[in-house]
């Protein structure tokens, strides 16, 4: 064995969730190994996330109002008990970030570390719209992750950078660690662990948009292959970007205040977004509907605000969050302040909230396996992204809970001692694509998945026939391309495993979508174009059984249903567009 590592708790993925998991497990007395295919501190979406939703009654926050908001925007399939756990634990995790020395935006307009108990500043758009509901702290995404890496090392955890984990070790129905390889040295790595935590981020497909190219559903695919129960992967994630500069997410000055409708027009010049009563990204579901009705493409109208004045407000924090997007647009020769630009919805895969099913302690259905952050399906958000800062909130809180519980589980478990012969069996699956002398390139497989999933008519304006057509193609990729995929070097071997995971998660998304026979939030089916509260206040779950995907549904608890007596139009202010 080249690299055999033994530990109490193995954490896979070094974004914010993974860092909180590692620190939480270590503080509970466990030996911890944190592994990432990139570099902990510069991996995953956390690097670009610059805010955390935070509940503190002393600052005037109203948790009940905030939960109502989650529920309404998420269209009543939000897991309210999880949403409450996330908010109630958010202040303690905020204090961790303060202790780690993260730079915050302070009330006097300066930036710096906070004193214990000091109330941070709120972004300007929160002050207007969500006043008194919840605090949203702001920090630099990059800065925060530097401090998170430091906290992991200071706590005494071991970090293994550049190790791509490819599969979980399954022994007698339990998870006993994971295997993979070092992307730079080619070393075979096998990590035996008493408890394993997936903190490996979201399901995405390297498409348009920003900062999501590392999230290729690695944890979700590994967990599925190991037999874990999965949850809520039908909800699609949408962002918006400028067509001629599709690596930019435009998070404009009007977006989160709900005034973005003024900047969005169709081919006829109509401002087609009315007052939907919902903020943020949920209204993105209406853009492909507009295109589908023959009124595309979609344009971004000039902001009509003074660039320099705008800079004062927001460019500073944006430059550390969704990328330095003003700089990026400048370099692309695009002037968003004065010119009309064509824009598109960026399909970013399964929306965070779906993933490996966890209970209130972050345990999955498999003994020894936990999940945190975007890899976990805790049902936060329901059918739409609820509000800014919820991703970091989820990463921090689920990470800590998963870490503490994984450490406790490891403390009660005996030593894991997997036979060398068992470990050796995984070597073929790790290095298989590297040994093929001919076959399909990793870029080819990735591109085929993108060409199948990205057209709007597949997973933005859905129809059973088109979902099944896409599933036919994905089944072909799974059965014909994957066994013949070839990696030319170690860098390419990482891409091969990512491509395999993308093919498998594409199937999960599409198959879950065929089950939900209604529309809700960002999930729009042309063949079932209304919410169906009678039948579909339910979650979709699935798992692998004897090589097949078995799907079922479970009811959403009644405390999440909202006021069922309310007229449909009031209950669902977001109106889908029909021809």
């Amino acid at each position: 064995m080249d690299g055999l590592v033994e530990t109490d708790v193995l954490v896979i993925g070094g974004g914010l969730a993974g860092c909180f998991t590692a620190v939480g497990a270590r503080s509970s007395g466990a030996d911890v190994v944190l592994v990432d295919k990139n570099y902990v501190g510069r991996t995953g979406c956390s690097v670009y996330a610059a805010g955390m939703a935070l509940f503190n009654p002393d600052w005037g926050d109203d948790i009940e109002a905030w939960l109502e908001q989650y529920s309404r925007v998420g269209e009543y399939v939000v897991d309210r008990s999880w949403a409450r756990i996330l908010l109630e634990n958010s202040y303690d995790r905020h204090r961790d970030l303060v202790d780690w020395g993260v730079t915050f935006y302070r009330k006097d307009g300066s930036r710096g570390s906070l004193d214990p108990g000091e109330e941070p500043d709120r972004p300007f758009w929160l002050k207007s719209r969500y006043r008194h509901m919840c605090t949203l702290t702001m920090f630099g995404g990059h800065d925060k992750m530097v401090h998170a890496r430091g906290a992991v090392l200071d706590s005494g955890c071991t970090i293994l950078d550049r190790v791509m984990i490819t599969d979980l070790i399954v022994e007698d129905g339990m998870i006993a660690g994971a295997v993979g390889f070092h992307v730079r040295t080619g070393e075979f790595v096998a990590i035996q662990a008493k408890a394993t935590v997936l903190a490996s981020g979201m399901v995405s497909f390297k498409g348009a948009g920003f900062g999501r190219h590392m999230g290729t559903g690695d944890g979700q695919a590994m967990a599925y292959r190991a037999g874990a129960e999965m949850k809520s992967m039908e909800w699609g994630g949408l962002m918006y970007c400028i067509k001629d500069c599709d690596s930019v997410i435009v998070d404009g000055p009007t977006w989160d205040t709900g005034e973005s409708k003024d900047n969005v027009t169709n081919a006829l010049g109509e401002r087609f977004l009315g007052d939907e009563g919902n903020p943020g990204t949920v209204t993105l579901v209406l853009w492909p509907q507009e295109v589908h009705a023959g009124r595309g493409p979609i344009y971004h109208e000039p902001y009509g605000v003074d660039r320099e004045a705008y800079k004062e407000e927001i460019i500073d924090y944006e430059s550390k969050a969704e990328g330095p997007w003003i700089t990026m647009l400048d370099r692309a020769g695009l002037d968003i302040f004065n010119d009309r630009l064509e824009q598109i919805t960026a399909y970013v895969g399964a929306r965070p909230g779906g993933g490996v099913k966890i209970d209130a302690g972050c345990a999955t259905s498999l003994p020894g396996l936990y999940a945190a952050g975007d890899a976990s399906g805790c049902g936060l958000g329901g059918a739409a992204y609820p509000a800014g800062g919820t991703g970091m909130n989820k990463a921090a809180v689920t990470g800590h809970i998963a870490g503490v519980n994984a450490a406790e589980y490891a403390g009660k478990s005996g030593a894991v001692n997997i036979d060398d012969a068992v470990i050796e069996r995984y070597r073929d699956s790790v290095f298989g694509p590297l040994r093929r002398r001919s076959g399909f390139s990793t870029d080819h497989v990735t591109k085929r998945v993108q060409q199948t999933l990205f057209p709007y008519e597949v997973h933005m304006v859905m129809h059973e026939e088109r979902l099944n057509a896409a599933l036919t193609m994905v089944g072909f990729f799974r059965d014909h391309l994957l066994p013949r995929m070839r990696a030319v070097d170690l860098h390419d071997l990482r891409k091969a495993h990512e491509a395999r995971n993308m093919v498998q998660t594409a199937e999960m998304i599409l198959r879950s979508s065929t089950v939900r026979k209604e529309s809700r939030g960002t999930f729009y089916r042309e063949d079932y174009p209304d919410r169906d509260d009678e039948n579909w206040l339910r979650w979709v779950l699935f798992k692998e059984e004897e090589g097949e995907m078995r799907l079922w549904t479970e009811p959403v608890p009644e405390d999440s249903h909202g006021d069922r007596s309310m007229p449909y139009d009031e209950r669902y202010p977001l109106k889908y567009r029909r021809e």
Binding site: N38, Y39, L329, A332, K495
Partner: protein
């Protein structure tokens, strides 16, 4: 290509970019003691290297190395 250049005249060889590139694009040239761009087409234009470089030796363009399909 998204990552277009690392100006080796400015570069001090601190190694941050090669160490931390999340897409495994930037590698380290042991002999020269400097980084080099090994897989430019896989750069996702995340800008971490440009933002982290202490001497502003890195330039990243927002254009993709490999076009991705659009929704319409």
């Amino acid at each position: 290509m998204p990552i277009e250049k690392i100006d080796l005249d400015l570069c001090t060889g601190c190694g941050i970019c090669a160490n931390s590139c999340p897409m495994d694009v930037i590698y380290w040239d042991e002999k020269a003691g400097k980084p080099y761009i090994r897989y430019p087409e896989d750069c996702a234009a995340c800008y971490s290297c440009e933002l982290d470089c202490p001497v502003k030796a890195v330039y990243v363009s927002p254009q993709r190395g490999r076009p991705v399909p659009h929704p319409w």
